[in-house]
């Protein structure tokens, strides 16, 4: 496919930064400056926040630039696997934000399979995440002894086994939910999935009696983490002076990064396969899809299972990283949050969904709280800002506004899938259709 010609003045100005030799020097310089700024002054603050956002923005530029693949991958690896973790050893806050973003990228990519690819609106997606989290939460703590006095918490080493186990359990729950509800379409499906999400949360909240399975609203604490197998390597060989907590941060960062990579590879391969095409056909027109021999129920179940299994696996990692889980962690708002990542980034578009997830997480964890802090400092300095004004309180409001504005001005998302973009802008001239033919009448 030919890329659309540059349309705006902005695109014409930035074109040299995206391709050709100037792009190499631009990206290289950008990366060097950002890395230097981060590593030379790693203190938490507004300045580092801004640099950090620019740092993540660079990843987007690297992705969009038309430069040699080796350069792209090399730069991405250098930034994500060396600079960011190194920065994390100096400042534990930002690497934690990056890890959280990675977790949500995985969830958003999983939900994107269901909503973006197959077109099935799922408002209870976080339930699968909860199932994975509670799986490891229950089995790795003394909670298991409350359920069955004879059972002992499993060895923390089994964490690695529980990630695929979380995947399987997530998959199983995906099928369990899918089987009864897949006869429903559109709004009805959305309502049932919403109900399912709530059922799981309420179960987690109330299953502390008669047998204490989930410890109810107290949540489960002291969830196990796997032993730090690389501790001596990091401390002795690399000479990093890190405590266990910091090592765990590094560990979870790399683990999440690895999972994100695997998930990206899996979903992009599925998308371009017969399965991805079948999902897309179902999203477009179920009746026509089934007439081509596509088994609707099986394909929809597959989408549910794939999406749910990512969430299940990530749930295990999340529980272990957080050390503590409780039912409110998995409420409806969380599902909607993940859905808004998918919509904001661009339904069906893998890079878009990644961007959406990073953006929303950043907004949630970093940007809005920082604005609050800055405002409070301004207040202390004597600026007339009302005492009670706190932007973190308006998070949802800002989100809502952002989503409304997106829906008005760019309904296909920030980085749309090419075809979705077509779908939502019917008035746009067809880029590839032969010009004389466009005058023919079109069927209604």
């Amino acid at each position: 496919m030919a890329t659309p010609p540059p349309t705006s003045a902005w695109e014409r100005i930035t074109a040299p930064l995206r391709s050709g030799p100037s792009a190499y020097s631009f990206l290289g310089l950008y990366a060097a400056v950002c890395s230097w700024l981060l590593l030379s002054n790693p203190r938490t603050g507004l300045r580092t926040d801004i640099v950090f956002v620019f740092f993540l923005l660079l990843m987007l530029f690297v992705f969009r630039a038309r430069v040699a693949r080796v350069f792209k991958i090399g730069l991405a690896v250098a930034l994500l696997a060396i600079v960011l973790p190194l920065f994390g050893t100096l400042n534990p806050y930002y690497i934690d934000v990056a890890t959280q973003a990675g977790i949500f990228v995985t969830l958003a990519l999983g939900l994107n399979v269901v909503v973006g690819f197959a077109g099935l609106l799922d408002l209870g997606y976080v339930a699968f995440f909860a199932v994975g989290a509670y799986l490891w939460g229950i089995f790795s703590t003394s909670q298991i002894t409350l359920i069955n006095p004879a059972a002992m918490p499993v060895s923390p080493l089994l964490f690695y086994l529980f990630i695929p186990l979380g995947l399987l359990v997530g998959c199983l729950f995906g099928v369990l939910l899918g089987l009864p509800v897949l006869r429903l379409r559109g709004d009805y499906l959305a309502i049932v999935t919403l109900g399912f999400g709530e059922v799981i949360r309420v179960l987690a909240n109330n299953l502390d009696k008669p047998v204490n399975i989930t410890n109810g609203s107290q949540g489960i604490r002291d969830i196990a983490r796997p032993p730090l197998f690389f501790a001596s390597f990091a401390r002795d060989t690399l000479g990093l002076k890190l405590n266990d907590n910091q090592l765990y941060q590094q560990f979870f960062y790399f683990l999440v990064l690895l999972i994100v990579l695997v998930v990206v590879v899996v979903v992009s391969r599925l998308k371009s396969s017969r399965i991805g095409r079948a999902w897309e056909a179902i999203r477009e027109d179920e009746t026509a899809a089934i007439a081509q021999g596509i088994p609707l129920v099986r394909m929809k179940l597959l989408a549910f299972a794939v999406g749910a299994s990512f969430a299940g696996a990530m749930g295990v990692v999340f529980a272990s990283k957080q050390l503590f889980i409780n039912p409110p962690t998995f409420d409806l708002l969380r599902s909607i949050n993940i859905l808004s990542m998918v919509i904001l980034g661009g339904m069906g578009s893998i890079p878009g969904v990644i961007l959406g997830a990073v953006l929303v997480t950043l907004l949630d964890l970093q940007i809005l709280p920082r604005i609050s802090t800055v405002l409070r400092e301004a207040q202390d300095a004597g600026f007339p800002i009302p005492e009670t004004f706190d932007p973190t309180q308006y998070q949802r409001l800002l989100f809502g506004l952002l989503l409304i504005l997106m829906m008005i001005f760019r309904p296909e998302g920030i980085l749309p899938d090419q075809r979705h973009s077509e779908e939502l802008h019917d008035d746009a001239p067809p880029p590839e259709a032969p010009a004389p033919a466009a005058a023919e009448p079109v069927a209604t």
């Binding site: 017969r274 399965i275 095409r277 899809a289 007439a291 021999g293 088994p295 259709a433 069927a443 209604t444």
Partner: protein, 259 residues
């Protein structure tokens, strides 16, 4: 030997009997038309054959297998494909992808191999693309393969729907008003294409059509439905002179003068 044998098909919706005790037998390699006034039950009959509706009564044998009650995708996989009266392409997918979806039942790459992207999967995908392009060349759309289906002109959309149906390598293809809304030029091209399906690809074609010139020109046998009942069957000459057919189309009284 018969390819399709629909016996005593009846289907009612509430109080309305849309198809009433219709029997249709189709030999392989024929072009057969089903005609009738609007609302005569032609499309309902197609929907029963392709499994979208289950008949209240009657049986459908296709290629020696009993298919009434099977799901549409199972029937499609057995080699019966259709087009739709109100074109149902996957509008936001490319022309090539539309045809690739038609091939779904012939692609078997298992899930795990797709994730591992094994050589087998890549070969199957490459072969499918090549075959899809053959189909597109056959209907004359190969040069538009990267366009979105919804951006095609009307006649091309009809042809693409046929190409998509062909991609499933069917034994029987059901065309629901393939020339509806076409100008005389496009109709002539479509007629040509339908003939070629049978002559070159040895397909069996069942046609629902309102364009009587087309129907009379290419069908070897015509069945006429009126109010869900089959009122006549035979070749073009028989149908043309059948008083009940004339009455169904032109009203009572016209039959006498025309005959």
């Amino acid at each position: 030997m018969t390819l399709l044998d629909a016996k005593n098909i009846t289907k009612s919706f509430g109080g309305l009997t849309a198809v009433n005790d219709v029997t249709l037998t189709i030999e392989p390699g024929r072009i057969v038309s089903v005609i009738g006034p609007n609302g005569a039950g032609k499309t309902t009959f197609f929907n029963i054959l392709t499994g979208i509706y289950k008949p209240d009564q009657g049986t459908v044998m296709f290629d020696g297998k009993l298919i009434a009650g099977k799901r549409p995708d199972e029937i499609a996989a057995l080699g019966m494909r259709r087009t739709f009266q109100n074109i149902r392409l996957f509008g936001n997918m490319t022309v090539l992808e539309n045809v690739l979806i038609g091939m779904h039942t012939h692609l078997h790459a298992p899930f795990w191999q797709i994730i591992a992207r094994t050589g087998g999967v890549r070969r199957e995908e490459a072969k499918a693309r090549e075959r899809a392009r053959e189909r597109l060349r056959y209907v004359g759309l190969d040069d538009k393969r990267e366009a979105l289906a919804k951006n095609l002109p009307y006649g091309d959309q009809r042809r693409l729907e046929i190409a998509r149906a062909l991609a499933g390598e069917p034994k029987l293809i059901l065309l629901d008003e393939p020339t509806a809304g076409m100008n005389p030029n496009e109709t002539a091209e479509a007629t040509q294409l339908i003939r070629r399906l049978r002559d070159e690809l040895k397909l069996t074609v069942v046609l629902i059509e309102h364009d009587m010139r087309l129907v009379m020109a290419i069908s070897e046998r015509i069945s006429v439905l009126d109010y869900g009942t089959k009122i006549a069957e035979g070749d073009a000459a028989v149908i043309r002179s059948n008083p009940r057919v004339i009455e169904a189309y032109l009203g009572k009284g016209a039959a006498g003068t025309a005959a």
